[in-house]
Amino acid sequence: MVGVTINGQSVEVEAGSTVLQVAQRLGIEIPTFCYLKRLPPLASCRMCLVEIEGLRRLQPSCATAVTDGMVVRTDTPLIDETRSSMLDMLLANHPLDCPICDKGGECELQDMVMAYGPGKSHFRDPKRVFHSRDIRLSPVVIMNVNRCIQCQRCVRMCEEVVGAVALGTVEKGMDTAVTGFEGSLASCDQCGNCIEVCPVGALMSFPYRYKARPWDLAETDTVCPHCGTGCQLTVGARKGEFMRVRSKEEHGVNRETLCARGRFGLDFIEGNDRIKRPMIRRDGTLVPVSWDEAGDHLRGRLAAVESKAAGGVVSPRLPNEVVYQFQKLMRTAFRTNNIDCSSRWSTPFDMLAPLMANYTRAPLKEVLGVGCVLVIGGNVTEENPVTEYLLRDAARRRGTGLLMLSTRPSRLDADAKAVVRVPPGGEPASLAAVVAGLVAAAGEKLSDNALAEIAVAIGGAAARNGSGGPDRLAAMLIEGDTVTVLVGVDLLRSSEARMALQQLDTLLQLLRLLGKSPALQVLFDRANQMGAWDMGALAGALPGPQPVADDAVRSALARNWGAEIPHEPGADLEAMLDLCVAGKMGALYLVGIDPVTSYPDREFVTGALGATDLLIVQDSFLTETAAFAEVVLPAAGYGEEAGSFTNNEGRIQQVRKFREPVFEARSNLAIFDFVAAQRGRTLQPSTQVEIFDEIARLLPAYQALTWPGLGVDGAFTRASSTPPLGPFFAQPAFFQARDGLMLVTGNCLFHNGYLSERSEILNTIANGPYVAMNAEDAAQLGLKDGDQVVVQSTRGELQAQLKVERPFPKGLVFVPENYRSLRLNSLMRRGEYPCPVEVHQAETAYEIASANRVWRGP
């Protein structure tokens, strides 16, 4: 600790703090432009100069570390004059076009001039004009170079936080200009973080430009609906019409950053396939009806199929309250535990339970220690971009060692200490190899007993396949002071999910035996997947999630709900579809999900839905699944219903409503009341806040949370105490990477599921569907980047543009799962993932897509 005095106030602060930080702590305002909290200081704008006793010159407070006994002044006439002089110089060439500038009203330069500027500019020579027209750097970024004040926040943000290195600075001195390669940002992430950090109106959002003035917008703080990172964002709407998204400097896991989906992908709510009115099927076609008519129809049909099974699947994008109420509706009004919360996979609850018990519910920033972070599966850069920013920050600024184990390469690999590229489907085997490597490397650190037990379980060190990568990871895991494991949902997608989770569990247990307390979080690709599990939208689990079979839990909930709960675990998604196919499913109730596009076997799922007696689809959009429905109920969309999301960190945050449901749509909660009524029941309680209170009362992890208590940064749900050691699992059978090409899928940078495809802005950014594979494979097949190719499985085929990716491993074919028109799932066969495929040149090589593949400006 060192003692410092600023403007007469003395404090003790940590050594290494900067003068600016100390001043901020004391509530002393120092103006800055180039300073950005999450970046190292640049000290170039010179707005923050202060007087330090004993030093001849003024010093930049943003970059000056305090020393013991330092005496600082920020309030002298010299400082006033200097600030005013800096502003005078900045204004000299700044176009004073504030009335037409997008930033007018929320411009830092404007504010600063008000507070510290010269009363009147002394400058009277002609201003510099770089370009008389704004430059369209990308579909979403437009630049007015004349307004730039060279704080370099955007460039540093792009390189140091986002890692895209798309923006740069050209020329020097007075000609300095921020731009992309050859004046284009065509191939950047389009995250718009550069726009966010621009203090003036230099970098602007093209979709928002000239659309509104800041003071005309009603702004609502809420949570992004796309991935599980759960970024906070602020929606600006004018008269209920969506206008823009901003992020706030200090809040949420993301602070001021977002990805393209969050910043530009919320206009999906204006998608043109919103369901306007309830619909029922008459003579084979869906016809719009009133809510009353729909109710009558539903009541009759529900009664008719009562003797058969019922089941329901709810979307992991819906708020906790909705998911919770849905499972309660199913369990009490439909008397069934046939519940799930994914249209893509089912997760065995016996394997999920240890995972949840190990879960670290804490801010990611804290969870990423200084030791090592093992990232398993997926491509975090594309699937959870903002999480990736934090990982990069940890690696670059705290020296955290990133260890990557995945099939798909990601940009984060460049910052990693070790990268293990796994053949498609090889995750369980690779995890097992890491386990074996750990056992071998741990040696005497493990007691003889434990060692013997593990050795027996995993089949001894002989099981090691001798590959260097996993051993290197193991060595680094042993060395790491802290160990964090982040798991991508790829593991759940695989047909070997159970095996993968078993190996993961063994790995975690082993790390604990080695005295590490490994932190664990999952990198969900759906905004409320964590919440959906917590709410018990699972066949084998009640809210908690706690096992259905647990009598105490069940009876406590039954008492609270005033209804019996079936005591047998229900059918999960897979089992429900089996029931459908077998003709045993009476009513299948799908809320907010679209299995026809997303279930990894289109032929099978359409058959199953077709064989269901009564298919009820509740959604905001007319999905392909809705086309199979007998009853379609229009639900509120994102932003039209309040609730809460629990993100990957276990942080629960308020999702706020910024407008009323459009057309005749009703909130999901209201629709549940409506459906319950058709079964002659009422659901108590039924308002969102009351439901929240019940969740907080009944779920251990949510104990003591209050709705108003979910402040600007949300609140953290509580982790369970460390789980007891369980069994170790045997190694999977020797994994033999298959010859030939294997197709895997996942999210791409610009889309998340199918929702984002309804965003017009994202569609102008993304280049459309593509097939990615490595250069060598492509060359062997005589294919080159940009070719139209056909991907063919035994089941079906699709056609898209080829994207040759240098770092891709051989044998891997990746097609993003986000394009409805591709019908990717028609290539897939249930239980077979990754999917063997062949790739060849498309015969009608018409040049549609390649012509505008790379966006080159207007």
């Binding site: 290195v165 740069g168 050209v170």
Partner: protein, 175 residues
């Protein structure tokens, strides 16, 4: 023949970090291509495995790099203080009228580009002009004319980088 790629790779071996080799690589690429258009920058980025924007940044920051074509002979007249004190302005006017271009321009035949530059670090022989690799000092109008005449004569053979390479077997030659 050593290819551009090989030369760049050799230069890169001098540094522990490939990014350091961007500047040498651009100098090499410019000798090969005369100037540095986008595709050349992309090629340099690809050879070194560095970000394209980094290459672009350097190609525009440093005055010796040209992203636009320059004439075969680039006449770079110093007009900084020491040369100015020795009347480099007169030489500029003379050059402009002799070549029929303004400073910054290129003759129609693409032979000459005329620029003024900051101090060349040869003020003892002010006024000075650099053409290709060589400095020409203690200039006056007569010497300028003689030089232009020689360059014209050389036009079919010389290159921009080193017009007199052919005349210089060792390398010995200095004004």
């Amino acid at each position: 023949m050593v290819t551009m790629r090989e030369k760049i790779e050799q230069a890169a071996a001098r540094y522990p970090d490939q990014r350091s080799a961007i500047m040498p690589a651009l100098l090499i690429a410019q000798r090969v291509h005369g100037h540095l258009p986008g595709p050349v920058l992309e090629e340099v980025a690809e050879i070194l495995g560095v970000e394209r924007i980094w290459v672009y940044e350097l190609a525009t920051f440093y005055t010796l790099f040209h992203t636009e074509p320059v004439g075969r002979f680039h006449l770079q007249l110093c007009d900084n203080v020491s040369c100015m004190l020795r009347r480099s302005e007169d030489l500029l006017m003379h050059l402009e009228s002799a070549l029929g271009i303004k400073k910054g321009g290129t003759t129609e035949d693409g032979l000459f580009t005329l620029s003024t530059v900051e101090c060349l670090g040869a003020c003892e022989m002010a006024p000075v002009m650099q053409v290709g690799d060589d400095y020409y000092g203690n200039l006056d109008i007569g010497r300028i004319d003689a030089l232009l005449a020689r360059l014209h004569a050389l036009a079919p053979h010389g290159t921009g980088a080193d017009p007199f390479a052919a005349e210089r077997p060792g390398e010995e030659r200095h004004v």
